[in-house]
Every structure is written in C-alpha cells, then in structure tokens.
C-alpha cells in the first residue's frame, strides 16, 4: 500500500511539474506578451519595467529555471492581470472549482446509482422506462448544452440565478447568509455538470445490476425467501457497484473538462475561467499556476478513484497490498 501511494505521489509530482512548465513555456513562446495589456500608449520605460518584472527580458529557459527554483519555495510569481501574487488567486479559484466539482460528483453519484439500481432490478414498468428514456436523452446533452439550456430556463422563469457566485449587495452579509447564497447560485452549474454524468452512471449501474440479479447466489437468496428489498439494496448492490468505481477515474477528468465550459457559461469564478483569462492576456505565471492546480486535481481524482475501486473490489485491494 505504501509503495502504491509513493508511486502515485511521484506520478502526481511529475504531472504537476510537466504541465505547469509546459504551459509556462508555451505561453512565453506565444506571439504577443503582457505588455499588450498596458493600455493605449505605454511609454518605452513602462514596457521595459513590465518586461523586467515578468521576466520577459530573459531567455525562456532562464526564466523557466528561475520560476522553478522559486516555485519550489511556493512563490509562483505575480499575476499581471490582477497585479498581485498568483498563489492566493489560484487557491481561491481552485476552491470554487472544487466546490462545484464535488457537489456535481455527489449529485451525479447519488442520482445515477440510485436510479440505476432501481431500473436495473426491474424488468418492466413505465417508471423505469421513463428513467431509461431520459438517460439516453441526457447522455446526449453535454455540459455546454445543458448549462445554456438551464440558463435559458432560469432567465425565463427567474427561479434560479443565471450566473455568478454571490448576489449583488451581499458583501457584508453574515457568513450563514452568504453560504446560503452561494448554495443557491451553485444549483444551476451543479445540475449542468451533474446531469449528463448521472445519466451515464444510471445506464452503467442499470446494466450491471440487471446482470447481478441473475447470478446464482442471488437466485439462491430468492429461493431462501430473502425479501426483495434486502435482495436489491443489500446483496446485489455490492456486486453491481464495481463497474461504476472503475470509470470514476474517467469521470473525474470529464468533470474537470466539463467544469471549464460550465464556469464560463454561468460565470462561476473557478480555475477554468481564470486560466482562460490568463491565456488570453499572456499572463505567464497565472497560466502555469492554474495548470499546476488542474494537474493537482487530476492526480487527486485518479488516486480517489483507485482507492474507491480498492474498497469495492477485494481483488484490486490485494493487488495494491502486494
């Protein structure tokens, strides 16, 4: 187990350094630099000062070296756009993305697995047919379309806020009120991100469940007179959960990808939006820090999915311990 964790940590570190270095160098080598953001007519002295401050007067390799040596000491440089250190900026945006991704993961897991067990353990019935039909439809509505559609519904009905994280004029509200406000704003982006994944989960869980209930040990349990509810929710459930755990790693990646466009459409101030702004403005240090945060999410996600699989599947657990 310890060896497994160390290997994973090493992989995470490599991923982190590679992605952030690659995005630093790419942004540096891209045509144009931050001085294009200096306003209409910057003086040569202003341009020189900005270039010196952001290390643009040195060669890309030298800049990368000094950035890396400072990054080891957790100094990731300054953002040009926001005119302050990128560390706190990225931490706050990453926190917002984590809130969104976590709530979408929870919603899609509960909804998808719950409904999947329901439809998988039943052969017919209009309710399970309805769920199955909506799943096939929802799988075809990726977050980009789902968020646009929900924003339209929200704009039309005014049931939900259409964007942002906080209502206007709530700067000095009490913390309980602002948490409620954030939760209220969270509903739309969460649904946009979670529903397509929940639909995929439902299909997967349903198939796996319908295979599980046909296994001999469950037939034996039926013969012994185990009540139907226990049969499904205590015995078959455990066997059928494995395929879902297997795709959890992929889902984490798609959550991260999906959250970019959802953040963009619903103006959720997360890491995707920050990175986009950084890329457009050639804000080198901001981009590389965002990439590092994204890689961190990814490493954490794959670790989480491996551990989940180990919990659900004894044979995987043995592999890890060996």
């Amino acid at each position: 187990m310890a060896r497994f964790l160390i290997r994973r940590l090493a992989f995470a570190l490599v991923l982190l350094v590679c992605t952030s270095s690659a995005s630093l160098l790419l942004t540096r080598l891209a045509p144009g630099d931050v001085t294009s953001q200096l306003g209409a007519f910057p003086s040569p002295a202003e341009i020189e000062a900005a270039r010196a401050r952001f290390g643009l007067d040195r060669s890309p390799i030298l800049q990368w070296g000094s950035w890396l040596s400072r990054a080891v000491r957790l100094d990731f440089g300054d953002s040009f756009l926001y005119n302050r250190p990128v560390g706190p900026l990225v931490v706050r945006a990453a926190g917002n993305t984590a809130v969104l991704a976590a709530s979408a993961l929870i919603v899609s897991t509960l909804l998808g697995i719950g409904l999947g067990i329901f439809t998988g353990s039943r052969r017919a019935g209009w309710l399970s047919a309805l769920v199955r039909g909506s799943s096939v439809m929802l799988i075809s509505v990726p977050p980009l379309l789902m968020s646009l559609m929900l924003v339209f519904v929200a704009a039309r009905t005014r049931w939900l806020p259409t964007g942002g994280m906080l209502s206007a004029g709530t700067v000095d509200a009490s913390w309980a009120a602002s948490i409620l406000d954030i939760g209220w704003h969270l509903v739309l982006p969460t649904l946009a991100l979670a529903l397509p994944i929940a639909a995929a989960f439902e299909r997967l869980q349903s198939q796996s469940m319908s295979e599980a209930v046909r296994q001999p040990f469950l037939v034996a349990a039926i013969a012994r007179g185990v009540p139907r509810r226990d049969l499904v929710w205590r015995h078959a459930w455990r066997v059928s959960i494995r395929p879902i755990c297997g795709v959890y790693g992929l889902v984490i990646g798609s959550l991260l990808s999906g959250s970019f466009i959802v953040e963009f459409v619903t103006a959720w101030p997360g890491i995707g939006r920050l990175m986009y702004e950084g890329l457009r403005a050639r804000d080198i240090y901001l981009v590389s820090a965002c990439a590092a945060a994204g890689a961190g999410f990814l490493a954490l996600g794959t670790l989480l999915s491996d551990l989940l699989l180990a919990v659900a599947d004894p044979s995987v657990r043995e592999d890890l311990e060996a």
């Binding site: 075809s140 379309l145 646009l148 339209f152 459409v265 990814l298």
Partner: protein, 323 residues
C-alpha cells in the same frame, strides 16, 4: 432505435451538403433594419391563398419589438435564384425561419452553412485520429520492446490530461484572431493530436493478442512483411473497436469546436459554425426572450443523439481484450 439514429444523421448530413440550396439567404447577408428580429411566420390564407410572409416593421428598437405589416403580402418564391424557397429581401421581407442575430443575419441560413465547417472539421479529425491511432497502436503492439514502451507511456500521459484544457492552451498560444481556414487546420491538428492516443491504446492491446494467433503466425511464415501483416491482417481485427472509438470521438470533436468558438478562441465570427453561432446565446438578458438563439445547441444535440442511438442498439459488445 438504430434506424432513428441513422435517419437523424442522414438528414443532418443532407442538410449540410445541400446548405446553399436549402438556405433562403446568404450566410453573411445583413438585414440592417432587422437586428434581433424574431422568426418570420409563414401565413396561408388571410388575403392570399399561396404561402406568404409579411414584412417586419420595427416598433421599438430598444426593446427589439417588431410588428408584421399585415397589409403587404409577399409571396414565397420557390426555386428562384438557386435556392429552394426564399422571401423577398427587397420588399423588406426576407424569410428568417429562426430570426436574425445581432448583425441582422439569417440564423437559419447560418445554421445550415455552419453545419458544414463544424461537421467537416469533426469528421476529418475523427478520421485522422482513428487512422493515426490505428497505425501507432498497430506498430506498438506488433513491435513491442522499447518502441512500445515509449509510445504507450506517451499515449497514457495524453489520455490522462483533460482534453479541453490542452486544446485551450494549444489554441490560445497562437495569435488570437486568425482567418477561418487557418483555424480549421489548427483545430484539426490539435484534435487529431489529442484523439489518437485513446485509439492507439485499445488497438495495441488487440494487436498484442492477435499477432500470436495462428493466422498471423501463418501469414508471417508465408513471408508477409511486417507492414503487410499489420495493415492487412492485424488491423482488420480491430475494426469493431475502431468503429466504436470513432463514434465516441465524433461528438467530442463537435463539442470541442463549439466550446472553443463559444469562448471566442475558435472560428472568427464571419465563418458561420455552430460554435460561433452559440455566442449569441451568451447574452443572458436576450436569451430569455429569444429561445431561437439556442438553435445551434439543438443541432449539436441532434448529432450527438443520432450517434448515440446508432451505437446503443447495434448490440456490438465492447471489445474483449482477454480471450
């Protein structure tokens, strides 16, 4: 179900191919006094038996309210000027089936023309990614050894990365404003580059198993060269897998194009694509009153649904990697 998917995709492909004939107006024609106009209603009866439209008059430019001029009847023109049906833009009554956008351009015509760039890009990218993935996977699985390790590690690394961020980064480091054809080539290259590793991994696993089967050994004994063995004998075994991968990649590429264009890093506004058209929907204040701005979203949905329906009921089992 499968037929429904095939019919849906067939209709969309037909619409894309026949776009210049089906579209009532040129995609970049601007009707400057019809900015944000609502869809044109086609009337039958009320003073004229043939299907006709009424010219739109601005009631309030600020509120974007329009009114039909009921006294003027403009009959639809069929098969004139090389298009199926059109209104009469000289009389102020063009046929705008999905309304006009912020520049007064016909949204329906742009949707039809836009499907060409969007679908061509996605189809070509799917083709390139699949072929490239098949070749690399075939070579890696057949050759084994250090080459295999290198290729496998690389593709594993690319698969792990969230594709949309890599696309974003690779696109954003190019000049932000580029002509449409350059964007097409650039996005095609990025998509193919990010798509092949997923294909290659599966093909490698299949080729690894197949190369030791009797037929492959026999072909080798008969003197088949590695190139012939891979392309004629081993890759056909992965045909089903390649088909499945292609149906996964196609919707993903359509979405990637739409996402990039939506955030303003894709095609320029003068090139109609489903992605650039979706930008219209980013104006929340307007979206509530103009649901037709979501038409490109509906088009994307139909393609994805069509592909999913086609795949869902083929009954093709996922490829078994272990014999």
């Amino acid at each position: 179900m499968r037929t429904a998917g095939a019919v849906l995709l067939g209709m969309i492909l037909f619409a894309a191919c026949a776009a210049p004939w089906l579209a009532p107006n040129p995609p970049n024609a601007r009707f400057s006094n019809l900015l944000y106009a609502p869809p044109t209603w086609v009337h039958v009866g009320d003073g004229m038996a043939a299907p006709h439209v009424h010219p739109l008059r601005i009631v309030s430019r600020l509120e974007r309210r329009f009114e039909e001029d009921r006294t003027t009847h403009v009959p639809l023109r069929w098969f004139s000027g090389g298009v199926l049906v059109s209104g009469d833009s000289e009389k102020g009554a063009p046929l705008l089936l999905l309304g006009a956008d912020a520049f007064g351009r016909d949204r329906f015509s742009r949707l039809l023309h836009g499907s060409r760039a969007t679908l061509a890009l996605a189809l070509l990218a799917t083709l390139f990614a699949t072929v490239l993935g098949a070749l690399v996977g075939g070579v890696a699985g057949y050759a084994g050894g250090r080459l295999d390790t290198l290729l496998s590690r690389f593709s594993e690394f690319v698969v792990v990365l969230p594709a949309i961020y890599v696309t974003l980064a690779l696109r954003a480091v190019m000049p932000l404003v580029l002509p449409g054809s350059t964007v097409f080539a650039l996005l095609l290259a990025i998509f193919a580059l990010l798509g092949w590793p997923m294909v290659a991994r599966g093909v490698r696993a299949i080729v690894l198993v197949e190369r030791d089967r009797e037929y492959a050994v026999a072909a080798r004994a008969a003197g088949a060269s590695p190139t012939r063995l891979i392309t004629r004998h081993l890759l056909p075994a992965a045909r089903g897998y390649l088909g499945t991968q292609a149906t996964l990649l196609l919707p993903a590429f359509i979405l990637a194009e739409s996402t990039m264009s939506y955030v303003g890093l894709g095609f320029p506004d003068t090139t109609p694509t489903w992605g650039t058209m979706l930008q219209d929907a980013s104006n929340v204040a307007m979206l509530g009153d103009a649901p037709w701005a979501l038409a490109p979203a509906a088009a994307i949905f139909m393609v994805v649904l069509g592909v999913n329906l086609l795949v869902q009921s083929t009954g093709r089992a996922p490829v078994q990697l272990e014999p």
